[in-house]
């Protein structure tokens, strides 16, 4: 394969070149990336829960580690992925049902506005754990 064969993917005239990407394409790319992140997360989640099969003490000490600011900040990334994926998924289902297709850009931005509000709510809920140092020096 020659480099110029990949022009459709990386070239300036490619539909994937950032300035050529249209609203629906951003939604599609975002849905893929967040979806893959969530699949990885689920298997991490199951692995972490499996420590309980070793002993309850192992599980409890892992829960203590995951409540540290760095991990809770990663939880915030998870919140962003979940909310984007859910809101965009809602938009996909709407279009499958034939609702709002004619106003697809508006529907996308309404979905993103709701997502932004929910994400800010999530940040508000996690703020103290991430940014306010606990007395125990967590």
């Amino acid at each position: 394969m020659k480099i110029r064969d990949l022009k459709w993917l990386f070239g300036r005239n490619s539909e994937f070149w950032p300035t050529n990407i249209k609203t629906g394409m951003w939604a599609w790319i975002g849905h893929r990336i967040t979806g893959l992140v969530l699949v990885v997360y689920v298997f991490m989640h199951l692995s972490f829960l499996s420590t309980a099969s070793i002993s309850s003490g192992d599980f409890n000490s892992l829960m203590e580690v995951t409540s540290k600011p760095l991990f809770v900040a990663m939880d915030f990334v998870l919140i962003i992925a979940v909310i984007f994926h859910a809101m965009n998924g809602f938009r996909v289902i709407m279009f499958d049902l034939g609702l709002g297709v004619r106003h697809q850009k508006l529907v996308f931005w309404i979905a993103m506005a709701i997502a932004a509000i929910l994400i800010i709510g999530g940040l508000w809920a996690l703020w103290d754990i991430i940014f306010v140092p606990s007395e125990g020096g967590g």
């Binding site: 699949v39 199951l46 309850s56 829960m63 289902i93």
Partner: protein, 129 residues
């Protein structure tokens, strides 16, 4: 390229499409219950007043069959949705479309093994250690 993308939507199948939507809706419901039960519901046993989850908290919650059904139901829907989503992504690549049978068998195996893993994970919480 556009022709190939249209072709891959045919590869995935109508049932896959349908269950992807069904599991999506169920997951939003399950996730709401799961998050509320794990992080907000008062089990009446946080002496320290902290929100840290402990083994005993989870055991107490899973004393109720309802939460076992929620957790295991959520795992099964996660697997349907996640693995089916992964399948859709893979089938956007010709090299995986050509090996459709192997991908399907592989993903089913991952799903079934993970469902069994789920029982193993729940076991200590249900028996209490």
């Amino acid at each position: 390229m556009p022709d190939q993308r249209i072709a891959t939507t045919k590869v995935a199948g109508t049932w896959a499409w349908f269950f992807q939507r069904l599991s999506a809706v169920l997951l939003v419901v399950f996730l709401g219950i799961h998050l509320y039960a794990s992080h907000f519901m008062d089990l009446g046993e946080h002496e320290s007043g902290e929100s840290l989850i402990s083994f005993d908290d989870v055991t107490l919650r899973l004393d109720q069959v309802f939460y076992i059904v929620v957790d295991y139901g959520m795992l099964s829907m996660v697997l349907v949705h996640g693995l089916n989503g992964l399948r859709t992504v893979l089938f956007d690549f010709d090299m995986f479309v050509k090996r459709k049978k192997y991908i399907d068998v592989g993903l089913w195996m991952v799903g079934i093994v993970t469902l069994i893993w789920g029982i193993v994970i729940l076991f200590p919480f249900i028996t209490g250690g």
